[in-house]
Symmetry: C2
Subunit: 373 residues, 2 copies
């Protein structure tokens, strides 16, 4: 066995997205202690940058030491208790994953189904909220990575609040790519991932909880089943809760936090509005180019995510063979379909640093050649 030298691949799948050299360089800086005062100062900066990226003043805004699915689990395990009812919107693979979280925690999931590729239907959600008075929360995916559909987070969060339910928003693929307005929308709990539109490597899950979510945590009847993800413990490390300084909970992934910090600095230098506009430009270029090749994006244009483009595989084309040729012949990764869409679609991610016209043109040229169009 030898040292690993990864191939040079343009990452245009559903994540991880391309990581800028500046972020990679930050990862490689010398490891220091997770309780070193200089590191604690860095943690404070990461919190402030995440508050900015999520458009929130929530004091509880921090990256969980794990991938996006650990972020999802952190939210559910802290908020859902056995016996709670949670209305779960399922219009893709990640909605189904939310349901799994609720059920495993002893909660009861009331499902609002929409077709894969469609946004969550607010009318159905309102009916479910009316049918389930006292539901603890409404959970939905803002940007479904499995289908490329955006849902109307603002409307859904308002409905939840109107009916006294917490809103839980999966923003793994949205933050940095489309507008996410945590406080203005009245989001109660939100989580994301480092490896999509934030352009850091996979392994951290930004999370933010508002006051109503904090109150629900404080009103729990029994302890959180997870010691590792119990936010009341995690917070003693991420903030000086008791006034006696930070206390050890687990050893933070020091170098990964260097990387996320640098990626957030880069995003802040560009500006959120500019980054969002760039994602839209790249998406339009891709859409037009695909059209020229006779390929079609799935879903209603109004709800399409610019950062995650789901392309219908044309009749008679071997979808896996195309991905294989793109990866090995053209050094471009695109994604396969997930769940019911497996074999039927490709997923072309234009996320974060990867969302650039030159990358769009490169994947279009490669597709043209591979498909012989």
């Amino acid at each position: 066995m030898q040292s690993f030298n990864p191939p040079d691949v343009l990452l245009l799948g559903p994540g991880p997205s391309p990581v800028p050299q500046r972020v990679l360089d930050a990862l490689a800086r010398p490891t220091i202690g997770h309780l070193d005062p200089r590191f604690v100062a860095l943690m404070d900066q990461v919190k402030a940058l995440l508050q900015w990226a999520l458009a929130t003043n929530n004091a509880i805004t921090l990256p969980i030491s794990g991938p996006g699915s650990a972020g999802m689990e952190a939210v559910f395990t802290n908020l859902v208790e056995p016996g709670d009812t949670v209305i779960v919107c399922r219009n893709g693979v990640f909605g189904e994953r939310m349901r799994q979280n609720v059920v495993r925690l002893g909660g009861s999931a009331s499902i609002v189904d929409d077709d894969y590729g469609q946004p969550v239907d607010p009318d159905k959600v309102e009916a479910a909220l009316k049918a389930n008075p006292g539901a603890k929360a409404l959970a939905f995916v803002h940007a479904e990575t499995s289908t490329g559909a955006r849902s109307d987070a603002q409307t859904l969060c308002a409905l939840a609040r109107e009916h006294g339910a917490l809103s839980i928003v999966d923003a793994v693929t949205s933050v940095g790519g489309i507008r996410v307005d945590t406080d203005a929308w009245g989001v109660d709990a939100i989580y994301s991932g480092s490896q999509k539109c934030l352009s850091a490597p996979p392994g951290l899950a930004p999370l933010s909880l508002g006051q109503r979510a904090v109150a629900a945590m404080q009103a729990r009847r029994q302890p959180v089943s997870s010691w590792f993800l119990d936010l009341s413990l995690v917070l003693d490390y991420w903030q000086d809760s008791a006034g006696g300084g930070r206390s050890y909970h687990h050893t933070a992934p020091v170098n990964m936090l260097y990387g996320l910090h640098e990626a957030l600095l880069m995003l802040r230098a560009e500006g959120l509005e500019a980054a969002i506009a760039r994602h839209l430009d790249s998406h339009r270029r891709l859409r037009d180019g695909l059209e020229t090749l006779g390929l079609e994006l799935r879903g209603d244009e109004r709800w399409r995510l610019p950062q995650l483009n789901v392309v219908t595989v044309p009749e008679g084309v071997d979808e896996a063979a195309v991905r294989h040729q793109l990866l090995h012949g053209h050094h471009i990764e695109i994604g396969a379909g997930l769940g019911p869409l497996a074999g039927k679609v490709w997923r072309i991610g234009l996320m974060g640093h990867g969302s650039r016209i030159e990358n769009v043109d490169r994947v279009l040229a490669a597709l043209k050649q591979v498909l012989g169009r």
Copy 2:
């Protein structure tokens, strides 16, 4: 806010330990996809290297995508069901953390207490196993990072097996620093951390489960409460369980795995026996040097961990001030006491790449100056 440039600190605390430049360089290699065949091949190498480091042929040997405490939780959440009794040995902070895991999962923890600093007493364990027929598991910490005490893992695992209980071994601080013989000792479940004697950055938790643990997982009466850590799902990504290729579970921390791979290659090149001997040499040099300064290591010499040295703070010395001066004046981090030992001890880690004579001499010289001895 600016890019973070960490200070140059010699990490001689309880972890993270110094990360070699080769490992830092590996971290910074370009991110590739977590399902890229080249990355899957790297995962297979990481598994094989971990099997070697843990001295096991267990097929289920992989790094959990989180810090050591996620490794602990992965083991407990997969093996312990509500109603199970687990005998938990508590001779330090991490034994107490094990108890928390058991109780939060709805299990019943039968505690075997030993003084902080003492090894787990096999006689007490045997009595507890006899008093709790049908106990699901015996859980103990091989190398207690909070006290510097080693326990006799081989004897304890044999007792567990004799009484039909699974053995759960916390080897976070032991792997790579002292002998860990998973298969020969009959360990059923073991976990470690990347940031101690393995010299990788914090954020990954190697884990291995033997056949008896797998059988216990398969015989579960209810699903694992954690979706993220459910090994039956994690395994579909880490091995081709169903014969149809790897399937997506969560996005692996790609760059962190580059780092762990490189760190394991370096350990293999040195050899485990050589690394263990090096840890012992450094420890002896430190012990002798501390003696010259009139400082004392805690605990019975036979059970002292060479990689984690717990020093009694002399009467009248301000322990925090000494650590502060070492960190800011001499650029050396040592650790404070944890739990009941807070304020009473320093913890000097000589772990992995940091366990070298020149580092020992440097901390001794700094201590001499700071203490004015």
